[in-house]
Amino acid sequence: MATAAAVIARPIEPEQASLWSDAWRRLRKNRLALVATVYLILLVAVALVALVWTPYRMSAVGVAVTYAGPSAAHPLGVDELGRDILSRLMVGAQVSLVVGVGTQILVLVVGVPIGLLAGYYRGWFDTFISFVINVFYGIPDILVAMIMVFLLGPSLTNIIIAIVATRWMDMARLVRGQAMSLREREFVEAGRAAGARPFRMLFGHILPNALGPIIIQATLGIPAAILFEAFLSFLGVGVQPPTPSWGSMANEGVQAIQYAPHMVLFPSIALSLTLMAFNFLGDGLRDALDPRSRR
């Protein structure tokens, strides 16, 4: 009796099924995206640990015989200067994450306002921005990045700036398209009729509606940026020694591929797994946030 009364007395709370809780529910069902998320959390943890502790100092040379393969003391072996590869991979994770996430934050800061303004106001500003975007698409990105690194110097910040210079257009174009379609929606007209200022309209009403595609784009942009940095480092114009980057480590490994294959193998595996994880997460987010794939 008492339990029945308790059941009846409980007010019926309708489920607060917002876009985000819906998306989270769908994302949790996606095994691959979940595994990728766990991997990325571990990667971030490893990168944070590497700030204070690594098995060996990443720049300590001669901790074992040069080119020595995996052993109990050095699970991933050592490189041509006798440096511990595991320690260097851990520090390299910092570089990759900083480059990947830092690039996308800057891309958001640059691309989102430009896209919003161009898409919402149209007119000459839109024409101008579309022209600039097409010009940037026309120039080979590796050329732009290499020239910028040569001019500014190969620091981590400059590498990030160089990657942003070649990657901001995707975000700007996506946001522009979103703003262009959203500005025709009735709630925008209703907002203007209510006396909302353009700033409030753009960032308070249009941006939240475009957030899904923006998050997907940013997530998928991270592995692209990491790969770009690894590529630049592989070519020798990226992060400079002694700071290890997965790309430069792979470059050193390639030169020794015939007698110390572990040197190229482990950085490449770390890079591949990380790229895959970000891509799976991005795909998972796309499925979760896309209203058309709603199940």
């Binding site: 607060q16 709630f187 007209e189 209703a190 009729a193 209510a194 006396g195």
Partner: protein
């Protein structure tokens, strides 16, 4: 009578299309008095919505207000800076739209959107706005407003969404509320509730209402005065009772005839208005209604009739007028469709 709160004078709004200039609003003038409820009726494309949008300077591209005045408390909205007009929108003159589903931002909580209407005009601080939102939702008769404020628009029913929109419109206690077909997207029963709500708010708060609709029944239920628009112009205006009893423009008469009735005699066919609404790129010569008018004269083909006083307080633009059509041309009598008029199997009260 008091001084009008809103005076529209010779308003012209045109759309530049690839095929030429469309005169969507072509010389519209009217007054709105404080606390009044005014209906603007017409078919699709008669210019009634564009008139409403022109008042707040919200005409979409490629439309342009080419001339005229919109005096709000004797200040011309058309001459104001963008900043000043933005201040008036939502604070002094609010507007609600046809489809509450698409007029609410789908990703923001309903309560927040109403609060925002106040915050945008610095009418309240955060906590005041939250309290007033609940009070407003209660006023528009949304049950359990404390919980509803946390709902997203898609969690509300259509009627509730429109109530929330009305609450948002009333947030800053505007002196004018423009309602652009607020009931068209709703169920018939919900329509009646929303109209009743608007009527009550009109009486309680003294908010003047401009009701844009194609439905004569809506006007009959809510408004005290009505403007009938055809092809971008006002063809008839006057008090609702007078217009419903003695419409003088054949278009108004046809509109009233074309309303389906449950109590029509079985042999009576529903009378639709012949022909199509005119092409505003090339409006007909003379009286714009002449191609569809059953009572036209030769003069109607060539000369444009002016809007003149046909009865006390009632103006119509017609060379014939229905009084003459009834006497000389055998026009039928009208059946009164106002609420409370005849119903059941009787043919209705003949006027």
């Amino acid at each position: 009578m008091a001084t009008p709160i809103l005076q529209v004078r010779d308003l012209h709004t045109q759309f530049a299309t690839d095929h030429g200039m469309v005169r969507a609003v072509d010389g519209v003038s009217f007054d709105l008095y404080p606390g009044e409820s005014l209906g603007i009726v017409g078919e699709s494309g008669s210019g009634k919505s564009v008139t409403a949008l022109s008042i707040l300077r919200l005409v979409p591209e490629p439309g342009r207000i080419t001339s005229g005045e919109v005096l709000y408390r004797n200040n011309d909205l058309l001459k104001m800076s963008d900043e000043d007009v933005r201040d008036i929108r939502g604070k002094d003159i609010a507007m609600i739209f046809q489809d509450p589903q698409s007029s609410l931002n789908p990703v923001l909580k309903t309560g927040y959107q109403i609060e925002e209407a106040m915050l945008a005009h610095r009418q309240a601080t955060g906590q005041q706005a939250r309290d007033r939102t609940i009070e407003l939702l209660r006023k528009v008769r949304i049950p359990a407003p404390e919980r509803r404020v946390k709902d997203f628009p898609h969690q509300l029913s259509g009627g509730m969404r429109q109530r929330a929109m009305i609450a948002m419109g009333l947030a800053n206690a505007p002196s004018i509320l423009i309602a652009d077909e607020p009931t068209t997207a709703l169920d018939v029963t919900v329509q009646a509730q929303i109209l009743e709500l608007l009527g009550d708010l009109n009486h309680e708060l003294g908010t003047a209402i401009i009701m844009i609709t194609h439905n004569m029944g809506v006007v009959a239920g809510l408004c005290s005065r009505v403007i009938v628009m055809y092809a971008g112009q006002i063809v008839e205006q006057g008090p609702v009772d007078q217009i419903f009893e003695q419409p003088q423009h054949p278009y108004t008469w046809s509109l009233l005839k074309s309303i389906p009735r449950v109590d029509a005699l079985r042999h009576e066919r529903l009378r639709s208005i012949e022909g199509l609404a005119p092409d505003l790129l090339r409006p007909p010569s003379g009286c714009r209604f002449h191609p569809r008018c059953p009572f036209r004269l030769d003069k109607c083909f060539t000369d444009e009739p002016p809007l003149v006083e046909v009865k006390p307080d009632q103006q119509a633009s017609c060379w014939v007028t229905m009084d003459r059509a009834r006497q000389e041309m055998g026009a039928d009598d009208l059946i009164d469709i106002r609420p409370g008029a005849a119903s059941g199997v009787h043919p209705g009260k003949l006027i």
